[in-house]
């Protein structure tokens, strides 16, 4: 096995390709957090009073809260005064009016990351992109074409300016500011993010996507995404993220809220590739994210798909509240931890309405010293007649020093509900490797084949463009692990 192991090692020794830094002048607030910081962020963005009040209220609540300790992750305490809460690339007075006016350096950054912002430079698949750089959105493509269908797709700041009523109506209704420590922090200091509104009966004509990039040093990224699918609307949304390689840990505390009204469908896909830190666990992003969808209307459908390969620490539990009758929630996840990465992730499905259905499929891969935890909750309320849940979480272990945990909670208060949970944990078998190699595959191909077979169920949920990227990412992220 030793020659096989060596070649796997070599195959896996690839670098974090998104780790470069873009040299742009940035306009940022000094480190530290106080009511004044929040007032400044709000003022810079020219926000209406209600939003400033909302932020300050969240901040006051946050001051009374303490960080959650129940997750299976270890990190030194975070100094919240040592973070820059607002950093934006410097721009002309009024900001770019169209994509042509965006700083070419920024465009090149996204080009390099494989996210072309020039509409004409698009690939065969049509994807509209909102590019978020540190604290602000630098450009959104295809806005005009989308507007023809009545679809609103813009940065959060723009939505606050242009559609304050919609923002006011839905902001914080799925994830209230006091929901948890990191959500409260986000509510106080969030700087930008994406806003999507799909009007009644509209099927969004293209995939929407946001690309998040942390660039500046010492900054935290606190973005907020709000997606509303009105009655009978359909939308598919993709999210990608990267950051430069730095020795310091950086905090990313985002909030994503999804609202699906009657018969609406929202599909939310994430490929998370924040910088994971180096081999010894130095640096990397702390990814503490609250994502929740609310199936408000009957027959609505929300599906989360995530591929988590980056971040030093991942703490996120995309959830669905199944309020409407016959609504459906789905969660498909691949989480990979290598070196010293830690992931505590999973999903919550809260069944409140009749005949609601949910599926959780979670695939965890631990390599090196990685620690991977699935934590889930399936709750069936007393009025959720005929509710149904199926959960499957499998863990694959690569190497001798990794850890994989499964902590599901099931609470059933209705006898007509059916809930099933299955989980397995096993290593890549030497017999499997041997079998594949005996048929002429190299060791690296054999490992990659077994891993992608393990993840297949989740990858098939991803939109085409992402499926390929996710496949490649897994190869990169397994770097340095032992087969």
């Amino acid at each position: 096995m030793s020659t096989a192991t060596n070649s796997i090692d070599r195959f896996l020794e690839r670098d974090y390709t998104a780790g470069f830094v873009t040299e742009v002048e940035s306009d940022s607030l000094p480190k530290g957090l106080s009511e004044e910081t929040i007032r400044q962020i709000s003022a810079r963005k020219g926000e209406p009073d209600f939003l400033l009040e909302w932020r300050l209220e969240a901040y006051r609540r946050w001051l009374e809260m303490s960080p959650p300790l129940w997750a299976q992750v270890k990190h030194p305490p975070i100094d919240y005064q040592d973070i820059v809460y607002y950093a934006a690339p410097k721009q002309k007075k009024d900001g770019p009016r169209s994509l042509d006016e965006v700083d070419p350096e920024l465009l090149r950054t996204y080009e390099k990351l494989g996210v072309p912002l020039h509409e004409r430079a698009r690939l065969a698949g049509v994807v509209a992109v909102d590019a978020v750089f540190d604290s602000v959105s630098v450009g959104t493509t295809f806005q005009k074409q989308l507007a023809e269908h009545g679809v609103i797709f813009c940065s959060f700041s723009e939505a606050v300016r242009e559609h304050p009523d919609l923002v006011r109506k839905y902001l914080g209704t799925v994830v209230p500011p006091s929901d948890n420590f990191y959500a409260a922090l986000n509510s106080a200091v969030f700087s930008d993010g994406s806003f999507v509104y799909i009007p009644k009966g509209v099927r969004c004509p293209m995939e929407l996507s946001t690309y998040f990039r942390i660039n500046a040093k010492d900054t935290g990224q606190f973005e907020r995404t709000l997606i509303i699918a009105d009655e009978g609307a359909t939308v598919s949304y993709l999210e990608g993220c990267t950051a430069p390689m730095r020795d310091e840990n950086q905090l990313h505390a985002a909030v994503v809220e999804l609202v699906a009204l009657d018969d609406a469908r929202i599909k939310y896909s994430t490929v998370q590739n924040w910088y994971p830190g180096d081999k010894d666990g130095k640096g990397g992003i702390y990814n503490f994210v609250t994502k929740r969808g609310d199936c408000r209307g009957p027959r609505s459908h929300i599906s989360w798909t995530q591929v988590e390969t980056g971040s030093a620490i991942t703490w996120k539990y995309p959830s669905v509240i199944l309020r409407g009758e016959d609504s459906v929630g789905e969660f498909h996840s691949v989480a990979l931890t290598n070196h010293r990465q830690q992931a505590d992730t999973g999903s919550k499905m809260i069944h409140l309405g009749r005949n609601t259905k949910s599926t959780i499929v979670s695939k965890g891969i631990s390599a090196g010293h990685g620690s991977n935890t699935f934590r889930g909750l399936v709750q069936i309320g007393p009025r959720a007649q005929g509710a149904r849940n199926f959960t499957q979480c499998d863990s694959l272990l690569i190497g001798e020093r990794c850890a994989a945990h499964t902590f599901p909670t099931i609470e059933v208060r209705n006898p007509s509900a059916q809930v099933e949970h299955e989980a397995t944990t096993s290593r890549i078998g030497e017999d499997q490797l041997f079998y594949a190699m005996q048929r002429g595959l190299s060791a690296e191909d054999a490992v990659s084949m077994i891993v992608s077979g393990f993840c297949k169920e989740v990858f098939k949920e991803l939109p085409m463009e992402f499926a390929v990227e996710a496949q490649n990412l897994l190869g990169v992220s397994l770097e340095g692990s032992v087969g």
Binding site: A403, P408, I410, V412, P415, Q418
Partner: protein, 439 residues
């Protein structure tokens, strides 16, 4: 007065009279235990392990101490008949050994069975190591350590096989009484034994029973432990079973929980040697407003351990059933093979089932799986039986019994299996005439 203070006062009053009070190590242990309980009080829902089981009801209740002289001969005799007139029979009433109701039977050479109080009075050798420490388990375990005055003290010598099961009977007889029982079992290398605990409640009013059973299995010992809980419906039952397994030992634990207002059982084993095996098999039934909770933990500390865990719950009325099982695989515990399953049957609209099957794994070369389900009786199976002429109640009972049957089948001793099945049968609603359809 707060709960901890009530118990601290009670301890100050009673400590001197507890057996072994003059042993310095024991006095120190009990002192630490009552301090811990006074410090923590009853567990609250804020503690993860007690999130689903509130003990607030116990609040500031003061319980009396019973002397164990209650008249229970008739009930014990009936239980004995039900159990198939066992050979080894030890009775404890309100936490005190009753030699007049006990018949230890003829024990093989090298086998010692007696009362813990007696062993403490004589300061039997090796007791200190078996007794445990104040920081184990949750705070009720500490309360038990502080107050436990009696229990069974069992030693099976190396290579000795106890042919018949040893039955330990614990009767909660006095209303408003709190009893604290501690059982110590030491199984020598290569020994074989089956130990059965019966817990029955005769009092109509509230009782509190804390029980801790500690088992130490030496190399290659094989111990089967079966707990049959039938406390009265006003009884609080807080039990903990703690096993330590040396290499190659096999520990089978069966927990059948049918009674009590609130029953909580923590079962833990630790594989302190290579190649250990454990079976955790459990069945619970609750109706009315009763609450039943099992928390289990299997610690695969060393390589080549095998564990199998199967728990099934039947919940009726407005009852609540909780199962939380954790399988822990320590770094380096390679070739671990663990399977855990829990299934729950909800028979009524107000019943609730909570399940937390947990895997915590720090080693790579392992095979672990768990599964959990919550559901109701299969409509098609019901229809099938009714099409064959069974009335609905009968059909439901038959299917419920079949659901429980899988757990009961794992009890190897036939007399015990039959006894458990009959108890369950009597508890399920529906007519009596089940024997022929079950067979």
């Amino acid at each position: 007065m707060s709960a901890p203070q009530v118990w601290r006062d009670a301890f100050a009053e009673r400590a001197e009279a507890l057996p072994g009070a003059r042993l310095p190590w024991l006095a120190r242990l009990r002192g630490q235990a009552i301090e811990r309980f006074a410090d923590e009080g009853w567990p609250t829902r804020r503690l993860e392990a007690w999130r689903h089981t509130p003990l607030a009801l116990l609040g500031e209740q003061a319980f009396v101490a019973a002397d164990g002289r209650a008249e229970v001969a008739a009930a014990v005799a009936q239980l004995r008949r039900e159990a198939g007139d066992p050979e080894h029979w030890l009775v404890f009433v309100d936490g005190h050994h009753r030699p007049d109701l006990s018949t230890p039977g003829s024990l093989p050479q090298g086998c010692q069975v007696g009362s813990l109080a007696e062993a403490l009075r004589q300061d039997a050798q090796g007791l200190e190591a078996l007794m445990g420490s104040a920081d184990e388990g949750s705070s009720p375990a500490a309360l038990n350590l502080a107050f436990a005055a009696d229990g069974a003290f069992v030693r099976i010598g190396s290579g000795v096989a106890l042919e018949h099961p040893l039955h330990l009977v614990f009767v909660s007889a006095t209303a408003e009484a709190a009893t604290h029982v501690r059982n110590l079992v030491q199984a020598g290398a290569n020994s074989v034994a089956t130990i059965v605990e019966h817990h029955i409640g005769l009092a109509d009013a509230q009782t509190l029973a804390t029980i801790e059973t500690r088992l130490a299995l030496d190399r290659d010992a094989r111990v089967t432990h079966l707990k049959l809980q039938r406390e009265s419906e006003a009884g609080f039952h807080l039990a903990r079973i703690d096993a330590q397994q040396a290499g190659g030992s096999v520990f089978d634990s069966h927990s059948l929980s049918f009674g009590a207002r609130l029953a909580r059982t923590d079962i833990e084993t630790r594989f302190a040697g290579e190649g250990c095996e454990a079976l955790f098999n459990g069945l619970y039934h609750a109706d009315g407003r009763r609450h039943v909770d099992h928390h289990t933990r299997i610690d695969h500390a060393l390589p080549r351990g095998t564990s199998r865990e199967y728990y099934r719950g039947i919940l009726d009325g407005a009852a609540r059933g909780v199962f939380s099982g954790r399988i822990l695989v320590a770094p380096g515990a390679v070739r671990t093979d663990a399977v855990q399953r829990t299934d729950n049957l909800l028979l009524s609209a107000q019943a609730e089932a909570d399940a937390r099957p947990e895997l915590e794994i720090y080693a790579a070369d392992v095979k672990c799986a768990h599964g959990a389900t919550v559901g109701q009786l299969d409509e098609e199976a019901l229809f099938y039986l009714r099409a064959r002429g069974l009335d609905e109640a009968h059909a439901r009972k038959l299917l419920t019994l079949a659901f429980a049957g899988e757990v009961l089948e794992r009890i190897r001793d036939e007399a015990l299996r039959r006894c458990a099945r009959e108890i369950l049968l009597a508890r399920l609603p529906g007519e009596e005439r089940m024997e022929e359809s079950y067979a």
